[in-house]
């Protein structure tokens, strides 16, 4: 897939070419492209005059960034304490088995990326699973398959 460098330049411009805005710039690129393509990072490095290694350091430090392409749908399973005591880890294990991926990985057909997240702050609804920002509260193993079916073909 070609990388839209024009979009990258626009994002950098919106942040006023400030090197202190690096994290914000990377967030916007991640948001738009679903991951941080190497070519985009090279562009950021050039425009902001920051060595690529420094950008790599930031991109791998923060959880919000990914250097690999992500699936069409992102499944996040909350592992915050409240969800943990209500069995969040079991939901995640079950999904790992079902999708045949480990946490953090993407299915071969690029349909789902499975992630864990430390607390979404909707603890009353735990355990929670979020697919593309839509919350599914109080889920259990029985409910998962029918929820995923809604996303399978799109």
């Amino acid at each position: 897939m070609p990388v839209d460098l024009q979009a990258v330049c626009e994002i950098i411009e919106r942040h006023g070419y400030q090197s202190s805005a690096l994290i914000g710039i990377l967030q916007d690129i991640q948001e738009r492209m679903n991951y941080l393509p190497r070519k985009a990072l090279l562009q950021v490095s050039k425009s902001l005059d920051i060595p690529l290694t420094n950008i790599y350091e930031v991109a791998t430090f923060y959880k919000a960034f990914s250097l690999e392409p992500q699936g069409r749908h992102t499944i996040q399973v909350c592992l915050g304490t409240a969800c943990h005591v209500r069995g969040g880890a079991r939901i995640l294990n079950y999904l790992e088995n079902l999708l045949d991926v480990k946490t953090g990985e993407t299915t071969k057909d690029l349909s789902f990326t499975l992630q864990s997240v430390n607390c979404l702050g909707a603890c009353a609804l735990g355990p929670i699973m979020v697919i593309d920002r839509k919350y599914f509260g109080r889920i259990n193993i029985q409910k998962i398959e029918s929820i995923l079916d809604q996303y399978q073909d799109r």
């Binding site: 923060y62 304490t81 409240a82 005591v85 294990n93 430390n118 979404l120 603890c123």
Partner: protein, 618 residues
């Protein structure tokens, strides 16, 4: 576009005209639109109210308001009808026509939408009579239900920015600091440092410029009060920050907010925009000569960035690694300039202190902890939600009277306070007053206010392992004691949970903990052993059962349990067959099923699916 307010009297005039145009006796329907209620269907309820009120031609006769979080997340979506304060719970769009027809137009209460007392079975009409709300003191959080956070006028109409007026018109900078000092306000983010002292040090520090920061990187899992404040009442935080900026003479402020909180970012962005339009942020605020602006920075998802020096590094666009604090951030913080950082809830307390006075504020709470604190009461508890209580209230009162106790008739085992750096407190400490110092003495801490309740089915060794693994993942890796210490602790705890624990492991854990406490660089490493130490202190017998008897008393740890189907209880309904992801359960309908222990991955799916308690755990 709102007109800029050039003077304090223009703001006062605006408030008066807003108040005149608002009829307090007119019915107002406040629908909770915090993240919790939104996730369980509040947007459809709001739409239904708008649509139906048009159908019934009620325009102008009633007000419909999507507000921030009301706190009682367990029973969302929540609908509150003013002025009577009728509280309806679990409202769905289909209920809306009836609410408008019966309750709003005819004053009839709909019984089935009321809260039912679990013991007396009585239906409770008014919000303030529901036990969940009755014992609270919602000083900071109470305004959430009154205003639409997307409208600055709502905040101004209920007295918002009055404290700023008071400060700018009649108070010297020193006086502001003096009031905050005398109020006894302590930081709500975890450390519990005296806010007034921090302001004073920052004011006295020398620098080219000064910064104020609002720490909204609420990373503690199981805590979401800061998010709900930013979502539901962003202007209270902004007003607090402007007052702080005035006191320490800063012209630039930052809010560092978690990116996992999209609604908080949205509402705060809008609030800052609106405050700018009114001239409450920007140059020469209300003609006072004060210049102040606020920028929002979204976090990158790193827990350690809740630590002040790591947060500042992140604001500068670098990786969030903390530094040693030989020099405090109030002297050299962001860009090496004097910086005053406070947490969201701390900032939101400031306008209240200015308005009500230091003495009044200090009359609330205990000797060392003044005012109120918002807790997120979550986990194995009937009434999950956000509760604001006066400092000094007992844990028992919070958990059993406000929280309504443990669901499913299970037994209370422990409450974990203070986030991953806090500790687990047992039943014998339930009468402990909630206060910074008492919690610390008991081996836990106030933290940002997470309160996670656990019942008999939660294994305390597993809890310790959970927190250690959490911190292991979140440790930035800069200093060795934290990075390696957590690694080793996680390995030992894993070993114990898997039944491979050794008798010397407990001493080793204690030793490692002490080393980390003595030598770690920042708060993350210094407090990381707390979950281990507190569970060792209060639940040692559980560790010993894992190690000596290879037994998990809570029947939780995977490696120490096995599943089987009780042939006397199994009805052959095949519910378990369907959920088993590895086809370990076989059997025909209406015949007793078989569970193959070899294939079983112990996911508990069958245990949860069985309605006849036929799946048992040994």
């Amino acid at each position: 576009m709102n007109p800029t307010l050039r003077t304090i009297s223009e703001l006062q005039a605006l408030r008066q005209s807003l108040r005149r145009s608002r009829d307090e006796t007119r019915p107002t329907i406040a629908i909770c639109a915090g993240t919790g209620c939104l996730a369980c269907g509040a947007p459809d309820v709001v739409e239904a109210f708008k649509r139906e009120s048009q159908n019934l031609k009620l325009d102008g006769k009633l007000e419909i308001r999507a507000t921030g979080c009301h706190g009682f997340c367990e029973r969302g979506p929540l609908v509150l009808i003013r002025p009577e304060m009728i509280c309806y719970i679990n409202v769905i769009p289909e209920d809306v026509p009836e609410i408008l027809n019966s309750t709003v137009l005819q004053g009839r209460i709909i019984d089935r939408l009321l809260y039912e007392d679990p013991i007396t079975k009585a239906r409770i009409v008014h919000e303030h009579d529901i036990p969940f709300y009755k014992f609270q003191n919602r000083l900071v959080f109470g305004s959430n239900g009154k205003i639409d956070p997307k409208k600055i006028d709502d905040y101004i109409a209920i007295g918002g920015y009055e404290s700023l007026e008071k400060v700018l018109s009649s108070m010297k900078r020193e006086e502001v600091i003096e009031i905050v000092k005398r109020s006894g306000l302590r930081g709500r983010g975890g450390g519990g440092f005296q806010t007034g002292l921090k302001w004073e040090s920052c004011r006295k520090a020398k620098g080219r410029e000064k910064f104020v920061i609002c720490n909204a990187d609420e990373g503690d899992p199981g805590a979401y009060m800061d998010r709900s404040l930013l979502e539901g009442n962003p202007h209270s935080v902004i007003e607090g920050m402007i007052i702080g900026a005035y006191a320490i003479e800063s012209e630039e402020g930052y809010v560092y907010v978690r990116n996992e909180y999209p609604l908080a970012v949205e509402n705060l962005t809008l609030a800052i925009e609106q405050a700018k339009q009114y001239g409450l942020l920007g140059q020469n605020i209300l003609g006072s000569g004060l210049n102040f602006n606020i920028k929002i920075n979204r976090g990158g998802g790193a827990f350690v960035c809740g630590e002040s020096t790591a947060l500042m590094a992140s604001l500068e666009g670098r990786v969030g690694e903390p530094r040693a604090k030989y020099i405090h951030t109030v002297e050299q913080g962001l860009w090496d300039q004097p910086t005053n950082l406070n947490n969201v809830e701390t900032w939101a307390n400031v306008p209240i202190i200015i308005r009500e006075g230091a003495e009044w504020y200090a009359s609330l709470g205990t000797e060392g902890s003044k005012g109120t604190k918002i807790f997120s009461l979550v986990g194995k508890i009937n009434n999950t939600g956000l509760v604001e209580v006066e400092m000094g209230i007992t844990l028992r009162k919070i958990i059993f009277e406000i929280g309504g106790g443990i669901p499913g008739g299970k037994r209370f085992k422990a409450v974990q306070t203070g986030g991953p750096s806090g500790g687990c407190l047992p039943e014998s400490l339930l009468d402990l007053p909630v206060d910074f110092d008492r919690l610390q003495e008991a081996g836990s801490m106030m933290g940002s206010g997470g309160m996670i309740v656990m019942d008999e089915e939660n294994c305390m060794v597993d809890m310790a392992r959970y927190f250690v693994q959490f911190l292991q993942e979140e440790s930035c890796g800069k200093c060795t004691p934290c990075r390696e210490g957590l690694d080793q602790m996680a390995e030992i705890l894993n070993r114990i949970c898997e039944g491979r624990g050794k008798s010397e492991d407990l001493n080793l854990l204690q030793e490692l903990s002490q080393t980390m406490i003595d030598t770690s660089l920042c708060g993350l490493g210094l407090t990381a052993p707390n979950p281990v130490l507190s569970t060792l202190r209060y639940f040692r017998e559980e560790y010993e059962a894992h190690i000596r008897e290879k037994r998990c008393p809570a029947r939780f740890c995977k490696h120490l349990i096995s599943f089987s189907i009780n042939p006397e209880k199994c009805t052959g309904c095949a519910a378990c067959v369907k959920v088993c992801p590895v086809e370990a359960i076989t059997g025909e309908r209406k015949k007793v099923h078989q569970l193959d222990g070899e294939k079983c991955i112990k996911c508990r799916g069958c245990y949860e699916a069985c309605k006849f308690e036929a799946v048992s755990i040994q």
